[in-house]
Each structure stands twice: as structure tokens, then as C-alpha cells.
Symmetry: C2
Subunit: 299 residues, 2 copies
């Protein structure tokens, strides 16, 4: 029998993910702090609830997709949270990107009440959510992973068990380090090239054809040299992730010299009003510093 699924947070990502579950024939009980969002998924066939507690009381498996660590703590452990309807047999899967330490804490606290937990952050952004093509990085017990796998496979294309609770969030953090530095490498390379009057289209062709190739260059390089920075994945969200990463690095005593600089450059994205642009737009910060547009030599 299909479990009844609760879905907390039906914003840009959550709406698509919950929709796929409805389309697959699951009963979904949804909650969102924004009434607009809730109405949208109810119109699609979900039952609306008025709190996380109510969602948890009415379902077997609660999924959350909310902005940040404090939101997850509130959903899971706060007043009117899942913990107030906690019971043996309930499953909680947080798919937000949050601090690994918070994922571990939530799993421990809910675990005391018999709730079994997974952290399962995703990559792939809105288009991944819309096309059920997300990459899902899961932390938690293997038997629980196997139990929830059919549900993950409705929302994502690649689902990987990464280790114990928190490991999904850790691998997501690793992913975001690499993506940030790939973009900054592209940014610094293109700005240096522009200052030396080299056509960025040539730089893109040579770099993407060789050892310097990155998937973000393949995906965003052509847009970048046309000055197109519509998201994709917004800079303010990548800054959030970098903040989580550096906070985690502090807890674990891991010096991350380049990631630390990356965070400052993404901080400058927000300071200059570019938080809603794609993360590839970090090149704008290097351009500002160098007082040049890296695309000026392109015709």
C-alpha cells in the first residue's frame, strides 16, 4: 500500500516535487507558511493542512523543502512541529539544503520519539524539480533509504545513499564548494582574458575543449559571454550554501582557503543587488573589481 505523504514547503521546488507525487497517485497532505503556495498545490489535488503537526498526524511519511536550517528546526522540532505528532512508525525526510549538524540533531531528537529520519538534499534546481530529474543525496540508515527509494525515484533521476544521517547534507556541501570554485575559475579567467583583449568566445572554445572543461562552463559559458544571467540557481541561495559550508568547516576545524574567498565574492553579489541573478553572475564581481566587462571584446 502506498504511504500517505505529507509535504511541508510547496514553493518553487516543493510545488513541482509534490505535484509529481500526486501525479504518481500518492495522497498528499500539504502545508506552507504562505497561503498562496498552499492554495496552488491544493488546486492540484493535495489536502491542505494548517500546521506541520497536522501534516505529521495525518500521514506516514513527511517531506520538507524549506529555505534554511532554522526553518527545518522549526518544522521538525518547533511549536506545532512534527515532534508534536511524533510516533513510532513515522518517517521524516528533509530535502532542504541545510547544515549537516542540524540534520543530525533533528534525526536524534525525532529519533527519541520513534521517528526515523533521512536528510536528502537535491541538486538540479527548478528545472530538475519540474522534470523529475533531481540528483538526490541521502543520509541515514540503509533500510530506511530502501523503504523511501520508490518515493525519491518519482522526484529524481539519480539517488545516492551517502552515509549516515547528515552525510547527504555533507555531500551537497562538497558539491556546492566545487560548483562555486568552477564558476569563480571561469570568472577570473574570462576577466583576465578580456583585459588582455582576447575574444571570450575563443577562451570558451579552448577551455571547454580541453583539460579546463567543467559542466558549469558547458551549461552557462555561452550565456555568460552574452551577458545572460537569468537563474538557474540564484546567487543568494549559493551564498546561503557557502555560509552553511563555512559554518560546518568551523565546527569541524577544516580550513577552506578558496571557499572562504568564494563566500566573500558571493557576499558581494548580494551587496551589489545581484542576489537574484544566476550564480554564474559572480563574474560581475570580478568585472567590477577590474572595471571591465568581460564580454566587451566579443562581436
Amino acid at each position: 500500500m502506498k504511504p500517505k505523504i505529507g509535504f511541508v514547503g510547496v514553493g518553487i521546488m516543493g510545488y513541482h516535487m509534490a505535484s509529481h507525487l500526486l501525479d504518481a497517485g500518492y495522497e498528499v497532505v500539504a502545508y506552507d507558511v504562505f497561503e498562496e503556495m498552499l492554495k496552488k498545490i491544493v488546486a492540484k489535488g493535495a489536502e491542505g493542512a494548517s500546521s506541520c503537526k497536522e501534516v505529521a498526524a495525518k500521514t506516514d511519511l513527511v517531506i520538507s523543502m524549506v529555505p534554511d536550517s532554522p526553518d527545518v528546526e522549526k518544522v521538525a522540532l518547533g511549536a506545532e512541529g512534527i515532534i508534536e505528532a511524533a510516533r513510532e512508525g513515522l518517517i521524516y525526510v528533509d530535502m532542504s539544503t541545510i547544515a549537516p549538524g542540524v540534520a543530525v540533531k533533528v534525526a536524534e531528537e525525532l529519533g527519541k520519539k520513534g521517528v526515523r529520519c533521512l536528510d536528502a538534499p537535491v541538486s538540479g534546481g527548478e528545472s530538475g524539480a519540474m522534470n523529475a530529474a533531481l540528483s538526490i543525496m541521502v543520509g541515514g540508515p540503509e533500510d530506511l533509504f530502501n523503504e523511501v527509494l520508490p518515493v525519491f525515484e518519482i522526484m529524481g533521476k539519480t539517488v545516492t545513499l551517502c552515509g549516515d544521517n547528515g552525510a547527504g547534507q555533507t555531500v551537497k556541501a562538497c558539491n556546492q564548494i566545487q560548483v562555486a570554485l568552477n564558476f569563480i575559475g571561469m570568472a577570473e579567467a574570462f576577466v583576465l582574458g578580456a583585459k588582455a583583449n582576447v575574444d571570450p568566445a575563443i577562451i570558451l572554445k579552448v577551455l571547454s575543449g580541453g583539460y579546463a572543461q567543467t559542466r558549469v562552463m558547458d551549461a552557462r559559458g555561452p550565456k555568460l559571454i552574452r551577458g545572460e544571467f537569468e537563474p538557474g540557481f540564484k546567487s543568494k541561495f549559493h551564498l546561503k550554501d557557502l555560509n552553511i559550508i563555512m559554518e560546518t568547516a568551523k565546527e569541524l576545524n577544516v580550513p577552506l582557503p578558496c571557499t572562504a574567498v568564494a563566500r566573500q565574492l558571493f557576499n558581494a553579489m548580494i551587496a551589489s543587488g545581484r542576489g537574484d541573478l544566476d550564480h554564474s553572475a559572480v563574474i560581475n564581481i570580478i568585472e567590477d573589481l577590474a572595471k571591465i566587462e568581460a564580454r566587451t571584446s566579443l562581436e
Copy 2:
């Protein structure tokens, strides 16, 4: 009629490159400051010379493949250098990786004597040289590029005209920025993951399968998690390139915040006696800082 080719610098890279020219039926006159090296290419069929001047006097097209900017200045403009045999019709192609500004200066100085010049640095390393699979980035006049193209195609697989004199070196610099930051992203990601007890094989699988993918991760990731750092491309040469890049950035007034940190990390490679390891071994520096081996959790 095939031009007679001079080859200055027949070390690890130059030996293979000159060999391909000999195999293709070109007459080659070679010179190297190390007599051992010269003997090796003479044994292969080249004529040995005792100076760059002599090489230039006896040939139509001189190629050089030497370590750094001062070496190229010496080869081209120094005592017993090409300039002492400079004449209308002579072509000089420097394939070393040097400062774009020095490439421009050499082209200007030799240009005054009627010598036409290209800068044509390569990527692909020793295996690229051995297999005639180098990527060649060329700066200089288009007609000269087309004239020399058949010679380039004997040594390389991808040959790209990047712009005027110096543009080949600029694009090589861009390439080395991106490669360095791709490696450092991988290093910081894997060390963070290791400190959080996540199996590096899982991190590699997830990152290389998604938006974080880089060609250096595909090529060196599996070796990295086995602790294998045989070069490939030696760290000390990547440091040389990063020094060129930051010197060029200073001349052009381009702030490169992450590349600047990258240089310091590669500097630490030399300080810790790791200059002869592959550049992927920059992870050892982050491991040293964090007092952990990023591979300890792998079984």
C-alpha cells in the same frame, strides 16, 4: 617545399615534438643547453647545433620549448640568440608557456629585424606531446598562423588562433586559472567530506555525475582517492604558470582573488617538497592544514 625547422629546447616536451617533425620528414636542426638532451634528438636524426644563433642561421622556422619567460628572452634576444641571425623571411614560434607581455616584446624586437613571430603554448603535458595530441593556443597574424598550421598539426590535435601576438599565452593563462581552481575545489570538497566521515568514493561519484563535474575530476579523481599523485603535470610547473598569471594580472590591473590564494597553495606545495607531484596533489596542502587524510574513510 618543406621548411627546414630549428628546435631549441629538446627536453621532455621538446624531444617528443621534434621527433614527430623528424618522423614527418622535416629536416630538424636542434639545440639544447643540456648536451644529454641534444644527443638524444641527434640520435633520432636531427642535426645538432651549438647555439640558438646557429639554429636560426641554418633554418627557415625556429621553434622553442623552454621552461620560462627569461629563457625565451635569452633564446630570442640574448647573446648568441636568434636575433643575431635575424633576417627577412625567418619565422620564430615559441611554444613555451611564458608571460604574454614577454611574447609581445619578443615579437616586437624580432619584428624590427624582419622576423615574423607566433606564441603557441600548449596543453596536454608529456602524454599529449608523445601522442601528438597537444592543444595549441596561438597568438599572431592570421596569415602566418595559416603558413605554420601544417607544422602545428604534426604536433597537436587542436590548434586555435586566439588573436594577436600574446593572445596564445593569455588563453593558456586563462586555462591554468580554471584548472587550478577546479583542482582546489576538488581538494577542499574532499577534505571537508573526509572530516565529516563521508566516503570519498561517494563524493566523487555524486560530484562527477552532476553539475560539479570537471574534466580534471574525471581524469584524476579516482587516482586522488587512491593517493596516487604521479605526474601528469608537475605542481612546480603549475606554480610557475600561476606566478606568470599573477604578474600579468598586476600589469593589467586585474584583481584575481581566488587565483591569488591558489598561488599561495601551490607555493606551499613547493615548500613542503611536493613540487614534483601532480597538480592534483594540492589536496595534500588542505589535508595538512586540516590534519586529516581525505582518503582515510575509503575502504
